[in-house]
């Protein structure tokens, strides 16, 4: 087990901050794309790291820490979505575009700048219906399989495939306009 993880397990907050520095970009990207909203993404990324701190003593090192943290983040976001008591309006404006709030898009840890093409795609992803967006992000960007997505989201694998197909169709339509 990585020394930083071990120290963080014992309550060393400095070590946990080092883990945060290593993994925050990935966690935030996941939250942003799943939530489709920068404000929500910030809150969810915080929730994910706080949950990771609480659950860290139970991490036994039988998977890579990054994988464990990634799976935990997905669970945090999906659980938050399920628990939402009201529909969140998904209106993608200039201010809501991923990366538009507070920091330069091409900040450290981001591979590549925010080109118009990339911005179009990110906005199109954010505009997807929540169910389709979740499956698309998890399958096409994060590399999970349909069985795994089904287990995480509580839908059937067939539904996952259908949602993916729908997401891709909507994205092509959006990007064709």
């Amino acid at each position: 087990m990585n020394e930083q993880v071990r120290r963080a397990q014992l309550g060393d907050q400095d070590a946990f901050e080092q883990l945060y520095r290593l993994h925050a970009g990935r966690v935030y990207a996941l939250c942003l794309r799943l939530a489709g909203d920068a404000v929500e993404a910030r809150r969810l990324a915080q929730d994910a790291f706080v949950r990771a701190w609480e659950r860290l003593p139970g991490f036994r090192g039988d998977s890579a820490f990054a994988s464990w943290l990634h799976r935990l983040t997905v669970n945090v976001v999906l659980a938050d979505r399920r628990a939402a008591s009201r529909r969140r309006r998904r209106v993608v404006t200039e201010g809501d575009a991923p990366g538009a709030e507070g920091s330069a898009p091409a900040a450290e840890g981001t591979a590549g700048a925010w080109t118009p093409e990339r911005l179009d795609l990110e906005r199109a992803i954010a505009a997807l219906p929540p169910g389709a967006r979740a499956v698309f992000v998890l399958f096409d960007i994060e590399g999970y399989g349909h069985e795994e997505i089904a287990a995480m989201t509580g839908i059937a694998p067939g539904t996952s495939k259908a949602q993916l197909h729908r997401a891709r169709r909507l994205l092509r339509e959006a990007l064709s306009r």
Binding site: R7, D12, Y20, R26, Y28, G112, D120, R168, S176
Partner: protein
């Protein structure tokens, strides 16, 4: 499906654009401060344990021997001259035949069945640990006698015991919900509360506490807390300040981190060298550097324990420094170790 405009014209184009998306996105710069604030808000001294120190801490009061009656209540305690006579005559105060556990003295009602021993509010008893020594069991204590061979092991589920072992190390083990206490030839008091948390105080010799792959070595005149789900607490000296003790509890069990460590370092004196030695392995980065420098100021590192090696947690370097610290087995004169062993054998500890 028709495609117009400059967007994704075909599946391959969409796939290529997806592939080019970065897997990481820089988070807002205030994300970590928000996380740290939530972690610190959650950090608090564990509540509801009678063993956690209050500002009016009185360790000695809390750990007064359950047998507060004068020594004469438990048999003859030799004066100096009598002690010599006993040594010469070879009279054994604590030897008991056989390897099994057995109750040698008791007052009040207690139950002992199927290896489970429980004392009532008004009872106390003395248990012989084979030929190794004795365990005094306080009122309202529950223990389980686990084994007598190859080592003597008992489990302290709740209450308080006082163990006095005159035997080579690692022959007597006490399991608690939070840690295993390994006797290294000594006398100590161990208490466990209803939540499974524990406090050990060593009066003679050393005790090793083990759990979750971590070890704390507790020398004489030092104590350590334990809590279920956490590694054994960092040992602290009887003479450590209340502020140091409270900060150490926050560090060990409430994610106190570098802030709590800073208080420990600020309060540490020469008697706290063992505490700081343990913190070397329990800290990292700048905090570990600070621990090293404070410990070096209190107890100069010997040859072979340079800053680079120690900060890298080189085992040889750490062991060399351990052997030179006041209170470690390496610094107790051999004749004192011998005297302690003989005195424990006589039963005067």
């Amino acid at each position: 499906m028709s495609h117009t405009g400059t967007g994704a014209r075909d599946p391959d184009d969409l796939a290529a654009r997806i592939e080019s998306l970065p897997r990481t996105i820089a988070p807002p710069p205030d994300l970590w401060p928000g996380i740290a604030a939530r972690l610190n808000a959650a950090a608090r001294i564990p509540a509801a344990s009678p063993l956690v120190p209050s500002p009016a801490w009185n360790l000695r009061h809390g750990l007064r021997s359950p047998f507060a009656a004068p020594p004469s209540a438990w048999g003859v305690r030799p004066a100096l001259a009598a002690g010599l006579v006993l040594l010469v005559a070879g009279v054994v105060a604590l030897r008991h035949g056989g390897e099994r556990w057995h109750v040698v003295q008791a007052s009040g009602a207690y139950s002992l069945a199927a290896g489970r021993l429980e004392t009532s509010a008004g009872s106390r008893l003395r248990l012989a640990v084979g030929r190794l020594g004795v365990v005094d069991v306080a009122p309202r204590t529950r223990i389980r006698l686990l084994s007598a061979r190859p080592e003597h092991r008992l489990a302290l589920d709740a209450g308080r015991i006082e163990a006095r072992i005159a035997a080579p190390p690692r022959l007597f083990y006490v399991e608690t919900p939070a840690a295993t206490a390994v006797d290294l030839g000594c006398a100590y008091t161990l208490a466990v509360d209803s939540g499974g948390g524990g406090l050990i105080h060593v009066t003679v010799g050393w005790v090793e506490l083990r759990r979750l792959g971590e070890t704390s070595i507790v020398p004489f005149n030092m104590s350590a807390y334990t809590r279920p789900g956490f590694a054994p607490g960092t040992p602290f000296a009887d003479r450590a300040s209340d502020s140091l003790k409270a900060a150490l509890v926050r560090f060990d069990f409430a994610r106190g981190g570098s802030a709590a460590a800073a208080v420990v370092l600020r309060e540490a004196r020469v008697n706290d060298a063992i505490t700081l030695w343990h913190l070397l392995r329990r800290t990292s980065g700048a905090t570990r550097v600070a621990v090293y420098r404070r410990l070096a100021a209190l107890a100069a590192p010997p040859a072979g324990a340079g800053e680079t090696q120690v900060l890298a947690l080189d085992r040889r370097a750490l062991e060399a420094w351990w052997e030179s610290l006041p209170g470690s087995p390496g610094t107790l004169p051999w004749w004192q170790r011998a005297a302690v062993r003989v005195a424990a054998w006589l039963g005067v500890l």
